[in-house]
Symmetry: C2
Subunit: 212 residues, 2 copies
């Protein structure tokens, strides 16, 4: 047996789709995002996605083609708005960058809508070289590029990356590994703790200097 779902073959009668009930296509995308987030690219199974979307595996392929394309459609499309939001963030005084950067980062990881695709990318990048390449490009070209421009000094790129590693490390421990007490700490406390460390990397001082 492959998977006799009991539903009959062929196009179903006009769904009488409840208001707000997502169409099949959307259900597949949602399930895909969840599965990619939970397992990472390689371990996510199309068959499991289909099961979660309550649909035949072949239908997934019918809509989206091969696995890579499904990943792009489900995750790539969901990550893009996050990237644009970050890229569109107005530049701040260099002494405020630490706080801005920290809160922006925590913000996108706290909202479940944006967390899921980010989780998917992070998990995937850790075991899949293609995903890792995409991740690298995103981080350096999109996320850090503008930040680097506004920082003085020749080692701005390194400093920006060290600030980023602090935040990614927190994301890893808090959202992936669910390490306590970090995972249960409220965001505000976290932001206050992290800001000085991030600012330290960016400007060499843990806070906005009083005089200058």
């Amino acid at each position: 047996m492959s998977t006799p779902t009991g539903r009959r073959r062929g196009r179903p009668p006009r769904a009488a789709a409840q208001d707000g009930a997502p169409g099949t296509r959307e259900r597949i995308l949602d399930a895909a995002r969840a599965e990619f987030a939970r397992r990472g690219y390689d371990l996510a199974a199309i068959r499991a996605i289909a099961r979660a979307a309550d649909v035949n595996p072949a239908l997934v392929h019918h809509y989206f083609g091969p696995k890579e394309a499904l990943f792009a459609a489900a995750v790539g499309a969901a990550v893009e708005p996050v990237s644009r939001r970050i890229a569109g963030e107005p530049l701040a005084e260099v002494t405020e960058l630490g706080e801005r950067f920290t809160r922006l980062f925590l913000g996108v990881w706290e909202s479940q809508d944006t967390r899921e695709p980010l989780l998917a990318v992070l998990r995937s990048a850790l075991s899949n070289e293609t995903a890792a390449a995409i991740f690298r490009r995103h981080v350096t070209d999109l996320l850090l590029a503008r930040l680097v421009e506004t920082l003085p000094g020749p080692d701005a790129a390194l400093r920006a990356e060290l600030a980023a590693t602090q935040l990614v490390g927190v994301a890893l421990a808090r959202y992936v590994l669910r390490l306590e007490p970090l995972a249960s700490t409220d965001v505000e406390t976290l932001a206050r703790r992290l800001t000085p460390a991030v600012q330290l990397h960016l400007t060499g001082r843990p806070d906005a200097p009083a005089g200058a």
Copy 2:
């Protein structure tokens, strides 16, 4: 055909093993460590390990039993000395903890012998819940426990974890994702950059206060 290696069946004649050439058992463990480090627990294939060790897959099973046991033998056994080394590290003045901790961490990640099993654990913990649980226990119970005891204040656990996230974030970016320029920065520079951030988390100040 499964894999006709051309070698014949049965126990081979007394290996005439070159001096220093590792026995079969060791070759399997090495290959396993490398594969687990490269792909993480779930994606590492026993058959690939056997191929790398130039040995029949059934032999892996013969020596180590099922996959979990192989992981424990290859990775667990290699991680333990690292844990012991860290646990045995003499306690330092609280003002020097940042530097000690940072350099110890970078040290174990820089040496290839210790990096490989750490990579294996990290990669595995990200996609496998069992591995994640082991990772959590190791970090909180073994790595951070003593550190937390020596730190004053009620939020010592959180502060220690934040320091750890900074370092794990660096490990991720440098050794897993190979993000530039971080991946090519020399360790000494890195240590100097990281120490204040780690110390900041631990004591609230980026360096040892001059007076106290």
